[in-house]
């Protein structure tokens, strides 16, 4: 197990290293140089030079790279050019919206997908199964931002159950904050729940055809009892992997939904930073998101190796 963990850790570090190189290179590829890109075409030469100095663009490339990475390792993500505040501060502030939103959406995903998937699998081929499967087809076909727009029209503008956008902050109390996050969380959860329902169902159907289920049935257990006592636990392994992937996806994938609802999260921060050409923020947030995704994948693989000893050997 330790060998497995160390091997995974090695590829985690390697992935992070390459990812940082890619992101750094992409910023380097900006037309002109970052300073003139950030200031636009009408900037004066001395302003550009001042910013160049501030960003350390006069230093050699490798030195800039090491100071960027070194800064991030010590929690210093640089200073935002537009906000004039340390990027770390902004990141923490935004994380307080994005993280709860991702957790909220993932909770909804699980609450929808588990019952729906289990029920569809236990009643395979029935009308309910067909309805659930049809609904999941629709769920993956609907663009979540379109669903969000329609939800705002119905539940915020017409019925006034939820605010149509914005975030009051956690200081305003738990209820108003959660209320503001509800429609975005539903919009994010819908396609994910559809995917997870299908995985849950097919994974259960897989285990239900195993020999040990037949043995359990032969012992006199009903199909439902066999499902609950034996099949469910074994079916959960692939489901958990997908949940892990979905969590990192929700964290990074909320970029458009955060824009629809004007939520001050990481996604909206990246988007705004891009339109304001604040490359320091872009670089840091993208690296943070990539780090989160790679870390979650690593944890999922570790858990997987823990649950299933066969996986510890080989790839």
């Amino acid at each position: 197990m330790l060998r497995f963990a160390l091997l995974r850790l090695r590829s985690l570090l390697l992935a992070l290293f390459v990812a940082s190189l890619v992101i750094f290179a992409m910023i380097e590829l900006v037309p002109g140089d970052p300073a003139s890109f950030m200031l636009g075409i009408n900037a004066r030469e001395d302003t550009i030079n001042a910013l160049r100095e501030e960003l350390g663009l006069n230093l050699p490339v490798w030195q800039r790279y090491t100071s960027w990475v070194g800064g991030m390792l010590t929690g210093d993500f640089g200073t935002s050019y537009t906000y004039r505040t340390p990027v770390t501060e902004i990141l923490i502030e935004r994380l307080w919206v994005s993280l709860p939103l991702a957790i909220y959406a993932l909770t909804l995903t699980i609450l929808i997908a588990f019952p729906a998937g289990i029920y569809a699998a236990s009643k395979r081929g029935s009308l309910t199964d067909l309805t659930v499967m049809g609904a999941t087809q629709l769920g993956v076909a609907v663009p979540n931002f379109w669903f969000a727009m329609l939800a705002v029209l119905v539940f915020a503008i017409s019925l006034r159950w939820f605010p149509s956008g914005g975030f009051p902050g956690w200081d305003a109390g738990l209820y108003p904050a959660l209320r503001a996050l509800t429609l975005p969380a539903i919009a994010l959860a819908l396609p994910q729940a559809s995917i997870l329902t299908r995985i849950m169902r097919s994974s259960l159907l897989d285990t239900l055809s195993e020999d040990y289920i037949r043995t359990a049935r032969a012992k006199g257990l009903t199909r439902g009892q066999a499902l609950r006592r034996h099949a469910l636990r074994n079916a959960l392994v692939p489901v958990l992997t997908i949940i892990g992937l979905q969590f990192s996806f929700l964290l990074a994938g909320a970029i458009i939904i955060e824009n629809v609802f004007f939520l001050p999260g990481l996604g909206r921060l990246v988007f705004q930073a891009i339109s304001q050409r604040d490359l320091i923020v872009v670089e840091s947030v993208v690296m943070l998101l990539v780090f989160a995704v790679i870390l979650v994948n690593f944890l999922v693989e570790l858990t997987y190796g823990f649950v299933d000893p066969q996986l510890r050997r080989g790839r």
């Binding site: 992935a15 076909a141 379109w146 329609l150 029209l153 503008i157 458009i256 990246v270 993208v286 994948n297």
Partner: protein, 270 residues
């Protein structure tokens, strides 16, 4: 079979709409007709008009062109690069080349695709072409992985053995014996990636980083309808339906094709 027929019919409708739009649309989508702005569906404009009096139906026809073109080329990039990489990894299995290709794949998978696509279009400029490249890059590992895993099992087959004994090299075997046997699989995956490409293009255009005006696009039509949604909901409804029906059609066609081409394949899909 039923899935396949419904799926292919839906897809055919939108492909036909895109093709016909080159020759004819009910109204000119580049001309403003302010006196007839924001008309409700019905009458001469069956889907109504937008805030500039443009015919929504015609715009959806032309928008189909953008969506389909972007998605098709993006899938093409994924296949053109991913399949050879997958074949090479399988032919050189368990060597450093295989390891390098597969680790590279893992890396691309680890990147939050939308964030990177947004970053790319921001750095290199927002355009349909950059959207295609951004979506296409993330298709490469999908096809590489699929090709490798399918090819690996084929390399164990007797007919590949005999080809090797006959003196054929790995390139020739990959092209002549492996590739034809994984085509079905690639077509099915291609359909799925096609539908994902349509969704990705819509999302990028929605936030203004995909197709630029005057090129009509479903995603941008939705973005433009947002401020008018309570006044004229039809502006948001029709482009949305177009996306949903196209994606649904492609997914159903993909499922149907998989059942038709290889009944042994599982009905699992992520």
């Amino acid at each position: 079979m039923r899935n396949l027929i419904i799926g292919l019919s839906l897809t055919a409708v939108f492909v036909a709409a895109a093709l016909i739009s080159f020759l004819w649309t009910p109204f000119d989508v580049t001309k403003f007709d302010i006196p007839n702005k924001l008309q409700a569906p019905g009458g001469a404009h069956i889907f109504g008009t937008d805030q500039f009096g443009r015919d929504i139906f015609s715009m959806i026809m032309v928008g189909a062109r953008t969506s389909i073109a972007v998605a098709v080329v993006a899938v093409g990039i994924g296949m053109a690069l991913g399949v050879p990489l997958g074949l090479a990894a399988a032919a050189r299995r368990n060597t450093w080349a295989d390891e390098l290709i597969m680790r590279g794949n893992d890396l691309v998978f680890a990147f939050p695709s939308l964030v990177i696509a947004i970053m790319m279009t921001a750095v290199f400029g927002a355009s349909a072409l950059n959207a295609i490249i951004a979506i296409g890059i993330f298709n490469i590992p999908v096809f590489a992985r699929l090709t490798r895993s399918a090819a690996l099992s084929l390399w164990q087959r007797d007919y590949v053995m005999s080809a090797r004994v006959a003196g054929k090299g790995p390139v020739l075997i990959s092209v002549e014996h492996i590739l034809p046997n994984i085509t079905n699989l690639l077509i099915v995956q291609g359909t799925i990636q096609f539908s994902l490409g349509i969704l990705a293009e819509a999302a990028l255009s929605y936030i203004g980083l995909g197709a630029q005006p005057p090129l009509p696009s479903w995603g941008r039509m939705l973005a433009e309808s947002q401020t008018l949604i309570s006044l004229a909901p039809h502006l948001a409804l029709f482009p949305g339906f177009a996306i949903v029906l196209t994606v649904l059609g492609l997914n159903l066609a993909g499922d149907g094709l998989r059942d038709l081409l290889d009944p042994k394949l599982r009905e699992v899909r992520t």
